[in-house]
C-alpha cells in the first residue's frame, strides 16, 4: 500500500480552507454564536452568500417561501448546515476542472450530488441531525477522486485504463494501478483540513462501512447505500460503468425496507433534475 502522506506531498500545493469556512467552523463551536454572527462572517464573501441562498431555495429543502437572507437560512437550517454549504461551494470550486485526466468531472459531481440527495433522505428517516451530516458526507464521499483528477491527471488515466481493460470498479483499479484508493486519499485530506471526524471516517469507509468506528458506522452505511442507489439511477458517473454490491449488514443497519427505498429514489430523481444549482 502506498504512503498516502507521500502521495499528497507529491501533489504539490493544496488549497487551504478559505478563511470564511474556517471562521464558520470556529463560530459553530462557540455556544454563544448567533445567526447574526454567521451573517457577518459570510457577508465578506458575497459570491458564497449568493450560492448558499440558491442552494437553500432548491427543491431539496422544499421551503414554501423564498429565503432571501443568510440570517433566515441560519435560523431555518441551523449553523452546521450553512457551514456545510459553504464547504461544498469551496470544494466544488477548487476541484471541478481536469481536462487532462480523461475523467468527466461534471458527471463525477453529478454522481456526488445525487448521492447527497439520497443520503440526506435516508438520514432524515433515521434521526435528528443525521440528514444534514448525511447530505454533506454523501456529497464529499469521493473527494479523493476529484483531487486526484486535478492534481495527478496521469494517475487517473492509468486508473481509467485498468477500469476499461479489467472491467473492475474504480477503487479496485486504483489499488491495482496506484497502490492506494480515493477513499484513503479523501479521508487524509479531510484530516488535514480539520474537518469533523464523521466526514473523515465516512469518506474512508464508504466502500466498507463495517470497518468504520462504531460511532460513525451508521453514517458510513447510509453513504455506502446512497452511493449505490445513485449508480442504479444512473446519476452522473463515479468513473466506471459498474455498481458495487450492497453490504448486507449496512443495509440492515439503516432499517430501510424496499418500499421506502423506492420512494426515496423517486423523490431524489426530481431533486437531481436541479443539480445544476450546485455548479458556480
Amino acid at each position: 500500500m502506498a504512503d498516502i502522506d507521500k502521495v499528497i506531498a507529491d501533489f504539490g500545493d493544496m488549497p487551504t480552507l478559505p478563511h470564511v469556512v474556517a471562521r464558520l467552523t470556529r463560530l459553530i463551536a462557540n455556544p454563544n454564536t448567533t445567526a447574526s454572527d454567521i451573517n457577518k462572517a459570510l457577508s465578506r464573501d458575497p459570491g458564497l452568500t449568493a450560492r448558499i441562498l440558491r442552494l437553500v431555495n432548491s427543491s431539496y429543502y422544499g421551503f414554501a417561501r423564498r429565503i432571501t437572507t443568510i440570517t433566515n437560512a441560519v435560523v431555518i437550517l441551523g449553523f452546521t448546515q450553512v457551514r456545510n454549504l459553504a464547504l461544498t461551494a469551496f470544494i466544488m470550486d477548487n476541484f471541478s476542472v481536469s481536462a487532462a485526466s480523461g475523467f468527466d468531472m461534471k458527471a463525477f459531481w453529478r454522481h456526488s450530488i445525487g448521492t447527497a440527495f439520497l443520503a440526506g433522505h435516508i438520514g432524515r428517516g433515521l434521526g435528528v441531525k443525521l440528514d444534514e451530516d448525511a447530505f454533506v458526507c454523501g456529497l464529499l464521499h469521493d473527494l479523493g477522486k476529484s483531487v486526484m483528477a486535478v492534481k495527478a491527471p496521469a494517475d487517473v488515466r492509468k486508473v481509467l485504463d485498468v477500469v476499461g481493460s479489467e472491467n473492475v470498479l474504480f477503487y479496485e483499479a486504483e489499488r491495482r494501478a496506484l497502490g492506494y484508493d480515493h477513499a484513503t486519499l479523501g479521508a487524509a485530506l479531510m484530516e488535514r483540513w480539520n474537518l469533523p471526524e464523521l466526514m473523515v471516517e465516512t469518506a474512508r469507509e464508504h466502500h466498507n462501512p463495517e470497518a468504520a468506528g462504531e460511532g460513525h458506522r451508521l453514517l458510513a452505511s447510509v453513504v455506502h447505500f446512497a452511493d449505490i442507489l445513485a449508480r442504479a439511477l444512473l446519476m452522473g458517473s463515479g468513473g466506471d460503468p459498474l455498481i458495487p454490491r450492497i453490504a448486507e449488514a449496512a443495509f440492515e443497519r439503516t432499517g430501510l425496507n424496499w418500499r421506502t427505498v423506492e420512494a426515496i429514489m423517486r423523490r431524489s430523481t426530481e431533486e437531481y433534475a436541479e443539480s445544476d444549482l450546485f455548479f458556480a
Partner: protein, 123 residues
C-alpha cells in the same frame, strides 16, 4: 398532476399539492411521500382526494405516439424516448450482471428498471 381519490392513493406516491381537509386546514404538506401512516392520517381527516405527482407521463406519451403512428400520423419524438429508455435499461443490465445471485441487488435492479421505464432516470 393527477388528482386521485383516497382509495387510489398508494404508498410511495408524492403529493404535488398540500392535502387539505374540508375546512381548508393542511393535513399533509406538498412533497409528502405517502406511506401507511400518512394514508391513515388522510382517512382520519376526511380527505377524499389529493393531487399526486405524475408517474406515468413518459409511458402515456409513448402510448399516445404509438397510437398516432398506427393512425398514420408519424411522430419521431417517442422513438427517441423509447431508444433512450432502452439504452438506460441496457446499461442497467450490464451494470448489474455480476450481481445476479444477490437478492438485495436484484431488488434494487427491479426498482431501477421501474424508474428507467417511467423516465425518472435521466443519466
Amino acid at each position: 398532476m393527477p388528482i386521485l381519490s383516497l382509495s387510489a392513493l398508494k404508498d410511495g406516491m408524492i403529493l404535488s399539492n398540500d392535502a387539505v381537509d374540508a375546512a381548508g386546514a393542511i393535513v399533509l404538506p406538498e412533497g409528502t411521500i405517502l406511506d401507511t401512516a400518512s394514508l391513515a392520517r388522510l382517512r382520519e381527516a376526511g380527505v377524499t382526494r389529493a393531487a399526486v405527482k405524475g408517474r406515468t407521463t413518459l409511458r402515456r406519451r409513448i402510448a399516445k405516439a404509438r397510437a398516432q403512428s398506427a393512425a398514420g400520423k408519424p411522430n419521431e419524438k417517442p422513438d427517441h424516448a423509447d431508444a433512450a429508455v432502452e439504452d438506460r435499461l441496457m446499461r442497467l443490465a450490464a451494470m448489474f450482471a455480476r450481481h445476479r445471485d444477490d437478492p438485495l441487488m436484484r431488488e434494487l435492479l427491479r426498482i431501477a428498471i421501474l424508474c428507467a421505464r417511467e423516465g425518472l432516470v435521466r443519466g
